[in-house]
């Protein structure tokens, strides 16, 4: 033993966990969120003038998080509405992600759908009955999203192009397409299309309820599609192993194209909800980065449509809470991003501790002590 202590064991070593109990995994995630919130508080004390001078108001800081989504009924509805749009895009991504087709182009697919449905509204609005207009807008949105997703899918199936880069580039094409249309459409040259008077989705209850219900139905429907239909099964097989799919005679190309069509059409639905349900207008920021946030929502939910309701809610809660902090404490626009970034860093980082166990060198040098 005396001899042993002369040699140095590694200070830290890692070992992979096998089969983590779900409860333990969730506890680790919860701890990560808590830790993230604490670090946010510290960052706030350092960066926000009003808190630096008066650290006692830190409680208010945390309260503001909740306030962002729940203080008034309007904020709560807004929370549910934003959650629904984000969830809708996340759901759209899910089939392709289950297939391990890393579609980073939801932003563009959705934006192009907004553009498509607003184009119909812009040119036909007022000239045809509203119900027909809404149907045409719907078709246009779905078609645009589907085409935008189909292009990279076909190239992947035909030439095995890298879908991640391809779909990413398509986002920029979509953005420029919107800019181009706005230059043509907006006569005063400001590239800012005022809210159109036609093409507004009917409302039930309040402005947002219909949208929320549609997306909720979609979540359940997609869950059934992925878990209980032949198509969903094929997606899972292709995602797990292309060779297995070939082995059992699944046409991989067909599944890729079909799934991306679905993905694009669902992005189209999201675009329709944004265009016809909310904005009646389009700008290059109509989707506002939600196409990228959706990737995280889907990933955090392990591509389970029902769990996505929770993860989309979490992300939306963070966003609104952080915006409320920026408002209440009158801090620069970048601060909410810092807050959201810190918390997401902890949430994503904790997956490492779910998958690996960390051992520290013990004093005795014999028995490894382990944490978490």
């Amino acid at each position: 033993m005396a001899q042993a202590s002369e040699h140095k064991e590694p200070l830290i070593h890692l070992s992979k966990r096998t089969g983590v109990a779900p409860l333990r995994a969730w506890l680790i995630r919860l701890a990560a969120v808590a830790l993230g919130l604490i670090v946010c508080g510290l960052a706030a004390m350092l960066l926000i003038e009003r808190l630096r001078d008066n650290p006692g108001r830190i409680g208010e800081f945390y309260y503001t998080f909740i306030k962002g989504s729940f203080s008034t009924s309007r904020k709560f509805w807004k929370f549910l509405k934003n959650l629904s749009i984000l969830l809708c895009i996340s759901l759209a991504l899910t089939p392709s992600f289950r297939m391990r087709f890393w579609n980073t182009g939801a932003e563009g697919q959705t934006l192009v759908s907004v553009l498509g449905c607003i184009a119909v509204d812009f040119y036909l609005g007022g000239k045809i009955p509203e119900w027909l207009l809404l149907i045409l807008m719907f078709i246009a949105a779905l078609a645009c999203g589907a085409v935008w997703a189909l292009i990279p899918a076909l190239c992947k199936a035909r030439w095995n192009t890298n879908e991640t880069l391809f779909t990413l580039m398509m986002n920029y094409v979509a953005t420029f397409l919107v800019s181009y249309c706005l230059v043509i459409w907006v006569a005063n040259g400001s590239s800012s299309l005022p809210k159109l008077k036609t093409g507004k989705l009917p409302t039930i209850g309040n402005d947002y309820l219909l949208i929320i219900l549609i997306v909720l139905l979609l979540a359940v429907g997609l869950y059934i599609y992925l878990s209980y239909t032949k198509h969903g099964y094929e997606i899972s097989v292709v995602g797990e192993s292309v060779r297995t799919a070939q082995y059992v005679g699944i046409s991989v190309k067909k599944v890729i194209v079909r799934t991306m069509l679905l993905n694009g059409a669902l992005c189209g639905l999201a675009g329709y909800l944004i265009g016809a349900g909310l904005d009646q207008s389009v700008t290059v920021n109509s989707v506002g980065g939600q196409g990228f946030t959706a990737i995280m929502v889907a990933w955090l939910a392990k591509f389970n449509p029902l769990v996505m309701i929770i993860t989309a809610g979490l992300i939306q809660l963070l966003n609104q809470g952080a915006a409320q902090i920026s408002q209440d404490f009158n801090v620069s626009g970048a601060f909410p991003d810092v807050i959201v970034g810190i918390i997401l860093f902890f949430i994503i980082g904790c997956e490492f501790f779910i998958n690996y166990q960390v051992h520290f060198r013990s004093r005795a040098g014999q028995e490894g002590r382990s944490v978490k």
Binding site: E9, P10, H13, G232, T244, Y247, G249
Partner: protein, 567 residues
Amino acid sequence: MEKQLALQLRGITKRFGRVVANNHVDLDVNRGEILAILGENGCGKTTLMNMIAGIYFPDEGHIYVDGQEVVIRSPKDAFDHRIGMIHQHFKLVDLFTAAENIVLGVHEEGRYNLKEVNQRVTEIAGKYGFHIDPRKKIYDMSVSEKQTVEIIKVLYRGADILILDEPTAVLTPQEIDKLFDVLRRMRADGKSIIIITHKLHEVLDVSDRVAILRRGEHIATVNTAETNESQLTEMMVGEKVSLDIERNDPVDAAPRLEVMHLNLHNAEGLHVLRDVTFTANGGEILGIAGIAGSGQRELLEAIAGLQPQMEGDVIFHNPKKDKPVTFFHKSMKRVRELGAQGMFHDQNMKPVSFDGMSTAEIRKWVESGNVLFKEDEIIDLRDKTPLEIRQLGVRLSFVPEDRLGMGLVGSMGITDNMMLRSYRKGPAGFLDRKKPRELAEEIIRELKVNTPGVNSPVRRLSGGNVQKVLVGREIAFTPKVLMAAYPVRGLDINSSYTIYHLLNKQKESGVAVIFVGEDLDVLLALSDRILVMNSGAVTGIVDARHATKEEIGLLMTKTDRARKEEA
């Protein structure tokens, strides 16, 4: 000669999560001996050796080299204590020469002098009887040559304790003999050699002592001279096991699958199948032998329709003459097609015509069992996809080498894996999990699959259980041809015998079984005929009841030499 301890392990324990890979293992290795570590797959042999070689760090326990306690944190530490390991998967740079690979990562004083290195490599090779050209690039080398480079790499670094992980798995009998000669020479030179294996006869052939591991525990170390196969097996498995493989004579062997002039170039343009021609008979096990990578995988995949760019014909004989047509393996569309071609007659030998009949009428007639095949069906599988092959009613089952990467979906449970072949059945777009679940339960029961449940991911199952699930599924579809690639690789002895038994049962029921194996003893004991392949070509088909291992070993390397002579 006085025995001198080179390496001692005391109380070595290693856990992976809740799995204990090694549990308080004690082991002694002497100078100048060959110690075999024997155990079934998953018993912790490789883990234990990886701790000596610095790949893993033990959770508990002590390691002593020459009586001094040492701590080995990295492969470099291991080399500092003159320990070197030759892994099962070689770690060589393809574009470098043998000598360049050997000096790679060696920190020596002075300038890098390739000439000197070449000379030293040649010296080492000469001393132990290796044949190696230090200037040859790795990509030009055979598997056996690459292994030689790995061994010299370790010797070059001055290792006195050499660990070889399953070194014979990739070698022909002749190459194994050569390797063992080298090992004996090293022993004579005072080196300690640890060889990991699960092949009993090799253990008896080369080792001085055998250490047996079972489920992570050290069971015993015995002198090789004082033991025998059945004793070792018993210690390894923990119970008495019969090592005899049953083999019945084929009954009514009739050609079932004719492979003719099969040629295939892979994606890199290499000619991986060269004019392969053979016939597999129903009621017979056709073994396929060859060094790993001789085209066995490509051959089976070509037959199964997974190599669309292949040339040549694969003819399937379906013994259907005077048997009723069913919708079990034929679609309505296909039945109509065959009917139009005049392939059916009724019980009175009158030709059947479906002209002017509705789908319901045809269905009724066929299901009455009165529509019979006029002839045996002869179907060319050339240019057919796996789906088309199934739709033609060809019952071809295939147990691929890559079980979780091809045969099964690792993240899915047994039920969902049962559906892989059959999920398309059923009218609507929805899956029917009822029948697959019943099948899953049946397989679990019949083949004694050890699993937490039908929905537990098959990835979590042990190798043997995974294979039972895969073979069970392929057999459940009552194949006419069953192809199995390395079906017992990585399996424990009991599971292996379950698989042999299943293959024999298929043979008895008239199935043409094609069995690709690596253990020549098993191939010789199980097969009726053995087809030997080398470099994508058939070098011979022998009668398994009369052939010897040496004969097959020569066939396994035949073309290589012939090619060299031509050049």
